[in-house]
């Protein structure tokens, strides 16, 4: 069974003019078909307003499709009775680390999800401990979230989701408000979770460097999926990406420019070492 599947997914909302009258429908998601298998690491790219966040909110049944269907772990998200199952199977981490931490002590925040699920007290403690350990924040368990750095807060938020034992974690631009250290921290954590706990990861971002290690990259624009493939396939189309208001890692850009100027470099260079190797080969 697929972890997440959608068929002809559409999400429309009413558009208002200055006086608040409805002037028509706006399509935030336009006929999207997704097939995400368990254990995959999927990255969804797109500029602000491309519909990627709206799509993410569907995976957690915060929004339900206005057309088409989405199944999370085989369950139709539109059906009221599936709501809590869907939210438990697909945990969600949001952009602003401050606005998703509920408690004033780290461990209590991680316990919030399991509490809501009605997990027995002893098991909550076990879950809190193992989740904090898995994101490397165990030593901060008694701290106040206000005293943590952005990256640390985001890792606490991830632990809060992990403690609910989801099959899939959806991260909606988790690094957009962090500095480079925080970004690295969070990504390392996400990759470790993916490798060690075998959770399905859906990473929504507009930073290209973050998708280099994904299994599969999806590019969205105007609510549609406009490109799909391995990172290498995606990054070999520098010009197309630019049309979608995206940008490629500096190394890929450099390789692309050199190729344009006549150096026979292969397409889709993602890493520094690759480029250096390729240039040495040519020399």
């Amino acid at each position: 069974m697929e972890m997440i599947r959608t068929e002809n997914l559409v999400y429309e909302y009413e558009k208002h003019d200055d006086e608040g009258n409805v002037v028509g429908m706006q399509r935030a998601i336009d006929d999207v078909g997704l097939h995400i298998k368990p254990g995959q690491f999927i990255a969804i790219l797109g500029h602000n307003g491309s519909g990627k966040s709206t799509l993410a909110k569907h995976m957690n049944a915060i929004l339900v499709p206005t057309g088409g269907t989405m199944w999370v772990d085989g369950k139709d998200t539109k059906k009221e009775e599936n709501l809590w199952d869907v939210r438990q199977s697909a945990g969600m981490v949001f952009q602003n680390p401050d606005n998703q931490i509920i408690a004033t002590v780290v461990e209590e925040d991680v316990g919030f999800g399991p509490e809501n699920l009605g997990v027995p007290t002893e098991e909550i403690w076990e879950r809190v401990e193992e989740s904090l350990k898995s994101v490397g924040m165990l030593e901060y368990r008694h701290r106040s979230p206000n005293k943590l750095s952005g990256g640390q807060k985001q890792r606490v938020a991830i632990a809060g989701v992990v403690a609910m034992h989801p099959k899939c974690i959806v991260l909606d631009e988790p690094t957009a408000m962090l500095d480079p250290n925080g970004r690295k921290d969070v990504l390392r954590t996400v990759h470790r979770l993916h490798e060690q706990e075998h959770v399905t990861v859906i990473l929504i971002t507009h930073y290209m460097e973050e998708v280099v290690d994904a299994d599969h990259v999806i590019v969205m624009d105007h609510g549609k999926i406009v490109m799909q493939g391995t990172p290498r396939e995606i990054f070999s189309k520098v010009e197309t990406l630019k049309e979608y208001r995206l940008d490629v890692p500096q190394v890929t850009m450099l390789a692309h420019e050199l190729k344009k100027r006549g150096l026979p470099i292969k397409d889709g260079i993602l890493r520094r070492e690759e480029l250096v190797e390729e240039l040495c080969r040519l020399n």
């Binding site: 509920i102 408690a103 209590e108 919030f112 399991p114 009605g118 909550i124 609910m164």
Partner: protein, 274 residues
């Protein structure tokens, strides 16, 4: 400047007071507060002071910290003292200058009021310094749980309180940032009359409200995403269970109450007018 307010903050430590059940601390603080208003002689206050000092010592919170908590009430304290001092008409006149006169009763009420207020704030801050806001709301929730039967949404109110406590420091910091940004745009919050000053708050309040609503919206989504659906069917990570030390604390409180009553009856002599 806003950061100086220590009242309501939690002081992390692992003292016996910290480990007490929040219900014990809430109930005892209330009893202590009531006792402050019942006591009306110097021996009683000596006892109240003794009790306070004992608790402060046991809590491991530096004295300096607790005193800082008094800062925001200094003005209130002064007003109360001055009112009582000059506006109590009855009693023997101790001092008179024009229409201002101080009577012995006035002096007495003024001093007692000041002592009460200071002890009250210190007692309450000991509670907040030693109890995490979440534990505090848990305690309130559990104490008020019987009210659920008459349809009072106790869980929801407690949840709101704990969220408010989490966001107060964040919003204070944000206020600071917005203020600085508007100062950088030449805003002036200090000069002008009251109306002008009130008007000058708009550039701070509008962005602050917008941000608070945005945060509230985000937080509601995040809570729903983590399967929050009200108090129904929820378990607790830290359920409140009375332990031996809690019973001991209650016993101690009962002893204190008895002592206050006895002191009131037996040692009710006065030192001068107090």
């Amino acid at each position: 400047m806003i950061r100086d307010i220590t009242i309501g903050q939690y002081y992390p430590a692992n003292s016996i007071i910290h480990r007490l059940d929040p219900r014990v601390k809430i109930v005892c603080t209330l009893i202590y507060m009531i006792s402050l208003f019942v006591i009306n002689n110097v021996c009683g206050y000596a006892l109240a002071l003794l009790f306070l000092v004992f608790v402060i010592k046991a809590s491991g919170v530096p004295f300096k910290f607790i005193v800082k908590g008094l800062k925001p009430i200094v003005v209130l304290l002064l007003i109360t003292v001055l009112f009582n001092l000059f506006l109590t008409g009855t009693g023997t006149i101790l001092f008179q200058a024009g229409f201002l006169k101080i009577t012995d009763q006035g002096l007495r009420t003024a001093v007692f009021m000041a002592v009460r207020l200071v002890f009250l704030i210190m007692g309450a801050s000991i509670m907040t310094f030693t109890t995490t806001p979440n534990a505090l709301t848990d305690g309130i929730e559990k104490l008020l749980h019987p009210l659920n039967k008459i349809k009072v949404p106790v869980h929801e109110v407690a949840m709101m309180m704990s969220i408010a406590l989490r966001f107060i420091p964040i919003l204070l910091e944000e206020t600071d940032k917005i203020m600085k940004a508007q100062i950088a745009r030449g805003a002036d919050f200090e000069s002008g009359n009251i109306i002008q000053r009130a008007k000058s708050m708009i550039p701070i309040l509008v962005p602050l409200f917008v941000s608070a609503f945005r945060r509230a919206n985000d937080l509601a989504l995040a809570m729903e995403a983590r399967c929050y659906r009200g108090g129904e069917g929820r378990t607790k990570m830290k359920p409140l269970l009375y332990k031996n030390r809690d019973y001991m604390a209650y016993a101690g409180m009962i002893l204190y109450t008895i002592a206050v009553v006895i002191v009131g009856r037996v040692l009710s002599f006065h030192v001068w007018i107090f």
